[in-house]
């Protein structure tokens, strides 16, 4: 009984999960339903709900290489699009889907789409006359990628030939684009030849580009199709009325294809290309092997072969033949006492590599340049081969003075021993890696001189501006002085002694008005205030200024007494008039 209950509890979630699982449909959409082999086409997987669905795997279909390309983020809200790139490799009609997968307890099922791959045949004689809408440029200009090898070894050179066939002479501005692939070195197509052939009664100009690739590690490499972009231009009629030069009688078709402009850009892609790279056999690898793969020749020369002690001998190591010269390294030279070999300079071209190096003879005992062995892997024979050159005998001129040599040897030994001795004190011991220049605080110090320069420029500009605008300068200066005057006057409010307060008020107002109207401050009195009316000052403000001045005269030169409230009121009045006058421009 207990067993049954446990089993029921265990299976219950599974039963329920199946009963609640939903079947959700999603759509597969092809960019085009018909493509030629070697071209690529995009496939979209469109999900109705923008859920967190992982990228579904499209089942393998022979003849098609389907790979996830990207997710469409710009699709309308609520729709999730995964886009796949399909490289078509053979003819036929391919059925894609239904694609099924489970996600989050639901089952997703797609529709089925059909992709038709049809070969573009070379136009038969007489077909070249097709015009107008039926003119298919890919039947007239097409690409052929060719390589003699698809199974190679690591570092083995794989020659690649790209041929552009065109039944039209004026094809220009050809640009190649090829996506890089990790650990696969692909050289640029730069070796170009031009031929003309006739096929099926049609003349073709064939532009042939040669390059090569090689892989640094073993594995299966799928090369992305190479995109070739070029312009098909209209025939330029030669001067003198002679007929235009063309390959075939198809000017009219091309004129219609190119349309209004002088040329039309066309983009074609090659077929995908795969290469299988095998590892080099390890057990029998010679010690002197440095990565050269091919069928090479090897030579070594030395010049001069008769030298004095201390002179240098030039050694030239040349490697020729066929193979990948990019990976040919300098063969190792065995160390010989008394002969110091320096770093070589290498010169590489497509079919050879040479190393020029110097060896300094440091001893009379040196009798030869040692033998050098160059090992390489021959991919055709699938075996390692080694070529040894040398030793090259050399003659050291002059009789060695054995006694002198012995003394020099002693001296050398003494030098070796007598390097400058130890530091007896440890010096300032500090924490390692305390590099203050790496601190941000230190780097921020660099800002200060820049700030100084900026400040000087700003001040200079300000000074120039103020000298060009005396009215504004007077306003600033007078307003600043007035602020100090107001503070000073406020401090001097004292009911017992009103004279200092009114004296300060008078000075403040006099200096302010003098500064603003650019007349000497001492000349500003209640009597001359009418002069200020020419600055279009509000009469009410002027009246209040006059009142303040009158109060000041009264307080300073009569025995009248003033209360604290009266002094406070004068202060308020002065604040008001200065505020009002600050808003006004005093233009002469």
């Amino acid at each position: 009984m207990i067993k049954k209950i446990i089993l029921t509890i265990l299976f219950l979630p599974i039963i329920f999960s199946h009963s609640f699982a939903e079947e959700i449909g999603f759509e597969l959409k092809l960019e085009k339903n018909k493509v030629p082999p070697g071209k690529q086409v995009y496939l979209e997987a469109v999900f109705p709900a923008n859920k967190d669905i992982s990228i579904p795997e499209i089942p393998f279909i022979e003849g098609l290489d389907i790979r996830y390309a990207r997710t469409d983020k710009e699709s309308p809200a609520g729709v999730l699009k995964y886009i796949y790139r399909i490289a078509v490799m053979k003819e036929g009609v391919f059925k894609i889907g239904p694609v099924e997968f489970d996600h989050g307890g639901d089952r997703y099922i797609s529709n089925t789409v059909y992709l038709s791959v049809e070969r573009i045949e070379l136009p038969a004689p007489g077909d070249a006359g097709q015009t107008g809408a039926s003119f298919d440029i890919s039947k007239h200009i097409f690409l052929v990628l060719d390589s003699p090898k698809s199974n190679v070894f690591v570092n083995e050179k794989v020659p690649v030939v790209l041929r552009l066939y065109s039944d039209w002479l004026d094809v220009e501005n050809i640009v190649f684009s090829q996506k890089p692939r990790e650990n696969l070195i692909a050289k640029k197509f730069d070796d170009r030849t031009v031929n003309t052939i006739e096929k099926g009664g049609i003349k073709y100009v064939v532009l042939e580009y040669r390059s090569y690739i090689y892989a640094a590690t073993p594995g299966q490499y799928d090369l992305e199709p190479i995109d070739v972009k070029f312009d098909v231009a209209k025939v330029k009629p030669p001067s003198g009325g002679s007929p235009a030069e063309t390959l075939n009688q198809n000017i009219q078709e091309y004129d219609e294809f190119i349309g209004q402009g002088s040329s039309r850009t066309v983009e074609l892609s090659t077929k995908p290309f795969s290469v299988t790279v095998a590892a080099l056999p390890q057990p029998e690898q010679p010690e002197s092997f440095t990565g050269a793969v091919g069928n090479f020749t090897f030579n070594m020369t030395a010049d001069p072969t008769s030298v004095k002690e201390g002179d240098t001998v030039g050694i030239k190591i040349s490697i020729g033949g066929e193979g990948n010269f990019d990976t040919v390294g300098m063969p190792k030279i065995v160390e010989v006492e008394g002969l110091r070999v320096y770093e070589p300079k290498s010169v590489r071209d497509k079919n050879s590599v040479s190393f020029d190096l110097e060896a300094r003879v440091l001893s009379y005992d040196v009798r030869e340049i040692p033998a050098v062995t160059f090992s390489f892997f021959n991919p055709d024979a699938a075996e390692y081969r080694s070529i040894t050159k040398g030793p090259i005998p050399i003659t050291i001129q002059g009789e060695p003075d054995r006694k002198r040599s012995a003394l020099e040897g002693e001296a050398k030994k003494t030098v070796e021993i007598n390097i400058v001795g130890l530091k007896s004190l440890p010096g300032r011991l500090s924490r390692s890696n305390m590099y203050y220049y790496r601190s941000k605080l230190f780097a921020s110090l660099a800002v200060f001189p820049i700030l100084l320069i900026i400040a000087s420029l700003v001040i200079e500009k300000r000074i120039k501006f103020l000298s060009d605008n005396p009215d504004y300068a007077a306003l600033i200066t007078s307003a600043r002085k007035a602020r100090y005057g107001l503070v000073r006057s406020q401090r001097l409010i004292n009911p017992g002694d009103h004279k200092p307060f009114y004296g300060a008020v008078f000075d403040t107002l006099q200096q302010y008005l003098g500064g603003r109207s650019l007349i000497p401050s001492a000349g500003v009195t209640a009597i001359v205030l009418d002069e200020l009316s020419r600055f279009e000052i509000d009469p009410e403000v002027l009246r209040r200024v006059k009142n303040i001045f009158s109060e000041c005269y009264l307080a300073r030169y009569t025995s009248a007494t003033f209360t604290k409230e009266e002094m406070q009121k004068t202060m308020e009045e002065m604040r008001y008039v200065i505020n009002e006058l600050n808003k006004k421009r005093f233009c002469k």
Binding site: T217, A279, G329, M330, G427
Partner: protein, 271 residues
Amino acid sequence: MLSTSLIKKDFVNKIMPLARLSMILCLFLFCCGAAAADERSALEDEFYKANSYYEAGNYKDAIGLYETILASGISSPNLHYNLGNSYLESGQIGSAILHYRKAIFYMPRDSGLRTNYKYALSMMKQRDPNISMHSLLRIVNGLFDMMTIGESYLLFGLLYLAFALLFAASRFVPRYRLAVDILAVFFFVILVLTILPLSNKINDLDREGVIISQIADAKIAPLDDAASGFPMYEGMRAYILKKMEFGWVKIKRPDGKIGWIKDKDIKAVCE
């Protein structure tokens, strides 16, 4: 009288906790200082002991002791110099050059250090490739080679400040503006001339490494079976461009050649 004593008592009550705290802090700082002094003294003892090993020709033990001091996170130019000497005497040219390079950053004008460093270079199987350089740049570089990083920064900072001050001053002395401007331009030219050697020096300090193995095979890719690019011999300098987690280091030789070597073959001058 009573009120005075109450005030005093109140004052003492207020002050006492602060005084206690200050005393504890002083005691703590004193203890820290004493501990640091003790540690320093112990390291100094190790240093003298290592020196005596060296003098006795026991270079292996001397290296061990010097390296122990370095492993504690403490270093000094003299320590690197002595370690360089020990490595040189024991025939490890690469490690000797590495420690001389470290010492040179702190005491570039030390004649003993220069002599031993030159001697270590002469012992190299293969010297660093020569780089062609404009003679003016060579002179300025040579000048900076004779200065520590701090002195180089000080010179640069002074030139920079002098230029900024002169530039600022020329705005406000219209009468002497031309003369001040000429002086500012002069300082600016010198400033520009010092930028490259200074950046080279910082670059050296940040990225320079020295080959410590007898020979390191620089490969074209970080793979054991990748083709060999060029050999690097013991003591040769290289810039460390990238360190991979799986034991490969991307290096650049002073002449621009780039390759991958194992991280055990190279050590950074400033780790």
